[in-house]
């Protein structure tokens, strides 16, 4: 099996998806001729045609709205938004139409589309290029929310997303695009939604994360192991649907948990997880569930970005304080 980075895994998956289903179309800004700003769609227009890999005008609401119409009429569009910070102009289309047509029409019309969006900080980019606002999608009924952390998962979850009968927000961790390589089967193997992955087994506490934070959490876990603390690391992979059983099961065993999330703290997905854990496993908890999160600040620009993104140090410190039970 070939080793690929996460970006290459996505390209591979898209190539397979396009080849196996003639109803799939890719559309977005610069996805065609130039292969996307992260080159995820590189070569796909040449291979599958300009009527299937489509450069659009600069108009995010138009991209999502057109993709919605295509999906309603029987195609399976995969739209790309260039960065999560540029998805907000399309938020109305997502909330008001994409997520709702099935319910509005009691299953008569559906919108099986995927919206791929690079997200997250850590590459010192300009403002709006570093957002982690997955929570606003998780809060929107009718959207599935997927965030892979490894190359194989990226490909496998994308395959599942493309075949899903409902709309999927597919968030791609920018700083993981080329951070590590991993084995990716060719063709990729679908990864089911709603199944968290145990990335590390441990009995002292549970560290819960997803997407771009997972590699850092694994580093932190190694660090903790050096200090005699064995952390279990859960990678959620999909926020909606959520593998609640895996979360509760692990915390019930370890009695302690920290959730690591890059997004802003207030009403982030970590809040949802902490609330759920105390609801379902309060009597197992030996210490408060800790949240290690980005702050309620704008993500800083390059020179101060490191103050925002939770790093290994903050994760380790939080884990230690959870172990101390304070």
């Amino acid at each position: 099996m070939a080793e690929r980075n996460l970006a290459q895994a996505l390209t591979l998956a898209l190539d397979h998806i396009l080849a196996s289903d003639p109803g799939v179309l890719l559309l977005g800004e610069d996805v065609g001729v130039t292969g996307g700003v992260f080159r995820i769609t590189d070569g796909l227009q040449d291979k599958h045609g300009a009527d299937r890999v489509i450069d659009t005008p600069v108009a995010e609401s138009g991209i999502v709205g057109a993709a919605f119409g295509m999906a309603v009429a029987g195609l399976r569009p995969i739209a790309e938004i260039q960065f999560l910070g540029f998805a907000y102009p399309a938020y109305d289309q997502m909330v008001s139409h994409v997520s709702r047509i099935r319910n509005r029409s009691r299953h008569r019309f559906t919108a099986p589309l995927v919206i791929r969006i690079p997200y997250g900080a850590g590459i010192g980019a300009a403002e709006h290029h570093s957002e982690s606002t997955e929570a606003i999608f998780a809060h929107t009924p009718g959207l599935k929310v997927v965030i892979p952390s490894t190359p194989a998962d990226a490909a496998g979850l994308l395959l599942t997303a493309a075949a899903d009968p409902d709309p999927v927000i597919f968030l791609e961790p920018i700083r993981s695009y080329r951070r590590m390589r991993g084995e990716v089967p060719d063709p990729p193997k679908p990864v089911p939604f709603g199944e968290a992955a145990v990335r590390r087994v441990g009995s002292d506490l549970t560290l819960i994360a997803y997407g771009a934070m997972v590699p850092d959490v694994l580093d932190a876990a190694e660090h903790l192991a050096g200090a005699g603390i064995e952390a279990e690391v859960l990678d959620l992979r999909t926020l909606v649907p959520l593998d609640i059983d895996a979360v509760i099961g692990s915390v019930a065993r370890t009695g302690r948990a920290a959730i690591i999330q890059e997004g802003h703290r207030t009403c982030g997905f970590a809040a949802e997880l902490a609330a759920t854990i105390q609801e379902e496993a309060l009597y197992s908890l030996e210490a408060p569930v800790a949240r290690v999160t980005g702050w309620d600040t704008v993500v800083p620009l390059r020179r101060a970005e490191h103050h925002y993104v939770p790093g290994v140090e903050r994760i380790v410190a939080a884990a230690e304080s959870v172990m101390a039970g304070s």
Binding site: S61, G65, D92, Q93, R102, L242
Partner: protein, 343 residues
């Protein structure tokens, strides 16, 4: 502004359709108005949520949809019941929606009409995507979308028109310029002289027609539909008309416009105009009118009865509507319904 049928019922030029077809569309307009009056009345009785009357706009809606094939798409708004019904969306669904029941949004298979868009502006690009998909799938179905003068101010109107122009999708944009967006008059909505001229910004042909003139609307839509179907791209039609009633049953037009303006437009009623024309051609009689009204009333009453006979959705139905297969979260929440535990 294209005009064919004069207010007095005489023709200025040739009619695009036969007298038989005109009779058919006249009958449709009678049905539509019967539905509309009933809607307002039922809302007053508390049997519907709010209701948005389209009285005065029947020619624009019926005339435009009459150009379509039965399997073409219609993507319209809360005020376009006549257009939707013309394309096969049953009255019962329209009533059901108005009672506040999601099942109103589920027309029979084969009816390619989306549930009405309540948000202003967002739905036009849906029609663009739909037309695009049909062409991609080598079907010759096209999409027609309806919207108001107010909707042209939303950014989504612009993105829809621009995409349609760039990708030459088979779409007909029908703007019913009914002079108001709730209380805001047309001249405060945009400083452009006409709405039709906005098409030029997208390399799309734009056509202004008298929206109270069934034949003018039909003529323009025949042309636009043919263009779309022949692969010659989108068209914007501005049908100049008037909302004779209130914005919705929650609105009081007395606050923002004169009775005189309403009266003037009532004098240009689109149905009366066709009646005069048919009468002049010996194709209208008082008996036929009575017949049409009775048939329409019966049809509408039956639809209301059918809608009101339905039991409301259960709580569990809410959860079942969201996805093909409910998520873990929804499953958990459904179990909270039963007991009070943590729910």
């Amino acid at each position: 502004m294209l005009e064919i049928l004069r207010p007095d019922g005489s023709l200025d030029g040739d009619s695009p359709i036969s007298l038989a077809e005109t009779r058919r569309l006249y009958a449709a307009m009678i049905s539509a108005r019967t539905y509309d009056h009933k809607g307002t009345a039922l809302q007053k009785q508390g049997r519907l949520a709010t209701y948005a009357s389209f009285e005065g706009q029947e020619a624009a809606q019926v005339g435009a949809v009459a150009s379509l094939q039965p399997d073409d798409w219609v993507v319209a708004t809360y005020r376009d019941a006549a257009a939707m019904w013309m394309q096969g969306y049953p009255w019962v669904n329209l009533f059901l929606g108005r009672t506040g029941d999601e099942r109103g949004g589920s027309p029979p298979e084969g009816v390619n009409v989306l549930p009405p868009s309540i948000t202003v502006g967002a739905h036009m690009i849906h029609a663009v995507g739909i037309g695009w998909a049909e062409r991609h799938q080598r079907s010759d179905r096209i999409a027609m979308t309806f919207f108001g003068d107010g909707a042209t101010s939303e950014g989504d109107f612009h993105e829809a028109m621009n995409f349609a122009g760039v990708f030459q999708t088979p779409v007909v944009f029908v703007c019913q310029n009914n002079q108001y967006a709730i209380s805001t008059p047309r001249h405060r909505q945009t400083a452009s002289e006409t709405i039709a001229q906005k098409a030029d910004a997208y390399g799309i042909p734009g056509r202004q027609v008298d929206g109270n003139d069934l034949l003018a609307v039909r003529s323009a839509s025949d042309e636009a539909v043919a263009r779309a179907r022949d692969g010659d791209g989108p068209t914007l039609i501005e049908a100049v008309t008037f909302r004779v009633g209130a914005h919705t049953t929650a609105d009081d037009p007395g606050r923002y416009r004169d009775r005189a303006e309403e009266d003037e437009w009532r004098g240009r009623d689109p149905i009366d105009r066709v009646r005069r024309y048919l009468e002049g051609a010996g194709e209208w009689t008082a008996e036929w009118q009575l017949e049409l009204e009775e048939e329409a009333a019966a049809e509408i009453e039956a639809a209301i009865a059918e809608a009101e006979a339905l039991d409301p959705l259960e709580a569990a139905d809410l959860f079942a509507g969201m996805f093909a297969t409910p998520t873990v979260q929804l499953e958990r929440q459904r179990t909270m319904l039963g007991g009070g535990s943590h729910g």
